[in-house]
Amino acid sequence: MKKVSFAHMGYSYLGFKQLVEDMGFEAVVPPNPSPATLDLGVTHAPEYACIPFKMVLGTYLEVLNKGAEMIITSGGVGPCRAGLYGMMHEKILHNLGYNFEIFVFDPPLTGLWSFFIKLRRVIKTAGISWLAFVDVIRRAWAKLKLLDELEQLATGIRPYEVKRGDTTRTFHSCLKIVEQARSQKEIAAAREECRQLLQSIPRDNGRRPLRVGIVGEIYVLLEPFMNLEIEKTLGEMGVITHRSIYLTQYTATDVLAHGAQDVRQLAHPYLNQFVGGHGQNSVGEAILYAQNGFDGVIQLAPFTCIPEIVAKSILPRVSRDFGIPVLSLTIDEQTGRAGIETRLEAFVDLLRQRREQMEARSNAALLPGY
């Protein structure tokens, strides 16, 4: 059986593990990114590459060392250098002497034919029919959707939890339940079970959490190791977070289509072109969060990421025009949490004070005689 692996991005590995196994391959599950992954990636990547590039390279080295013979991954689209990342990874790994096959799937709309050719080769290697493949994809998709749903549910519950850490612990047991579910029926049952587990966490509903939207580059947004668990940290500080990217939603709007229309339209007065990566999205989504009454926006930008640098320089204007506080965080090799925690705590303090002030003002307006 061919040993197949893939990149690690948040909890999606559970969906991809099933996808690969159901196609009849042996899945080499990438380990959770760790300082060891980082070391491997940093050692072999160009110094100036961004952290997602280095981490993904580190992950590939780990799975190749575990015997993977084939890697299936998705490509980035230019014009930023992410468009060349798949090729760069392949070249570096081949130069290091690894013998393996890599399939980099770019969004089909950027080249339908090459997408089809690659897919046909993968399916042929697997030796399954197109019909069977459709079923495999559907089940993996259902699993990925469930993972996204549970993650959002957990972030909505965490700020209310009575006992700190309950939600995170329950969420991790949910991951185990989801891992076991394979058929559509089992996935649906796992959904019910996990929802119930999360819903039954003791909560203090008297709390009034803040709401913060998180925008930025996909890898640092989705991988908790990389963003130093920003969502858990904020949740425990009493903040409900919402990410601009959840894998299944993003696949539907940006990978299989030309991006969410409203987001691009909103960004247009500030940034009227696609600058690569998620630059334009970050601007548009910050505005969307402001319009939806969020208390603040946090931007996660990999160090040296050009699209996010462009967005970062525009966000102060968005912040002023829409009256929403924005905090930009640059993500690189650091694994120390103190720095990011300080900034998040200060940001949450700022948002709380701001809310109090606004409420005081509107209460004053309601008093007769004013």
Binding site: P35, R169, F225, T330, T342, R343, E345, L350, Q357
Partner: protein, 319 residues
């Protein structure tokens, strides 16, 4: 016995301890080097501040801040553990009530805090690079064989400041060396360095922020007259240096402790005796999953008092 409040700021380079009266007046302030040993620094700070205080002082509340705030909080028994941005803003507001901009440069970080009508509305902190912080100035002073205290004075003597690349400390250092080799005098180079540092700060940390007067400059680097002058020149306005500029974080933590205890709650402060107790921090790598979290245990006289570092929450509960 008057109730007083203790504030401790454990930073990367310095550890500061302040004791204030209920009205916010500073009774004692200690500025020490952390030297990579935060536990020792906190104990030493407590010892010194105790020796400095009149006998009849009773600590009614304690607060900690700085990057070592959780550690310090666990050691002394803090009533409040607060990030340094909030602490700095609280302290600056006490000294300059209508402050609108705070520039703060410490050992390893630099920040800007924007306030309007007394409320923090925006802030930024350097994220990936320590260019233009106290450590760099320290290092350059040592390389040039000049005591750091003399640095600012020399900068003010410059006639023709040379241009130094300020974006990265490595670039700055090699640029400085090249200019030295070309024969520029030391005053001009130091002044150029101060200007480069300020330029980098304004262009990086303070990018896109509206800097309105009154502008307060605090943190250890505010002692440097060369940097002060470079800031006034670049901003075209006067810069206010608060009286307690090197210990503003600790002062803020003490003020926050005062407000948090608010006269009606018993303090969690364990007393100055903790300075004589033994604290140990040791870490281990959890092998529970591939995250390989680094778990840190803090022990007081052999008893576990705090633990942190796990991602899944497995080790968050004590015992």
């Amino acid at each position: 016995m008057q109730p007083c409040y203790l504030g401790i700021d454990v930073g990367s380079v310095s550890t500061n301890v302040v004791v204030i009266t209920p009205s916010g007046e500073v009774l004692s302030s200690i500025y020490l080097r952390t030297q990579g040993q935060p536990i020792q620094a906190v104990k030493e700070g407590l010892r010194r501040v105790k020796a400095d205080l009149p006998e009849d002082v009773r600590i009614a509340g304690a607060g900690t801040t700085g990057s070592g705030r959780y550690l310090a909080g666990a050691i002394v028994g803090a009533d409040i553990v607060k990030n340094e941005i909030t602490a700095h803003a609280v302290a600056a507001r006490l000294e300059v009530p209508d402050v609108q901009t705070i520039l703060e440069i410490g050992g390893q970080d630099s920040k800007i805090i924007i306030l309007r009508q007394g409320v923090v509305i925006d802030f930024a902190m350097n994220t990936v690079c320590a260019a233009g912080t106290g450590s760099f100035l320290d290092q350059q002073a040592a390389r040039l064989g000049i005591p750091i205290e003399k640095f600012g004075e020399l900068a003010l003597k410059a006639r023709n400041p040379v241009r130094i690349a300020g974006r990265c400390t490595v670039f700055a250092e090699s640029d400085m060396i090249h200019k030295q080799q070309m024969g520029h005098n030391i005053e001009d180079i130091i002044c150029g360095l101060c200007e480069a540092l300020v330029r980098n700060y304004l262009n990086n940390v303070a990018k896109g922020k509206e800097i309105l007067a009154p502008v307060v400059f605090q943190g250890g680097v505010a002692a440097n007259t060369g940097i002060r002058a470079a800031f006034s020149k670049a901003l075209g306005q006067d810069i206010i240096i608060p009286r307690h500029f090197p210990v503003m974080g600790a002062l803020g933590a003490a003020l926050l402790a005062r407000d948090s205890v608010n006269n009606n709650r018993e303090t969690k402060f364990k007393g100055f005796e903790v300075a004589e107790e033994e604290f140990r921090a040791h870490s281990f790598t959890c092998q529970g999953c591939s995250n390989l979290c680094e778990i840190v245990n803090i022990e007081e006289e052999g008893n576990l008092i705090a633990r942190w570092g796990s991602r899944c929450g497995k080790w968050d509960t004590l015992g």
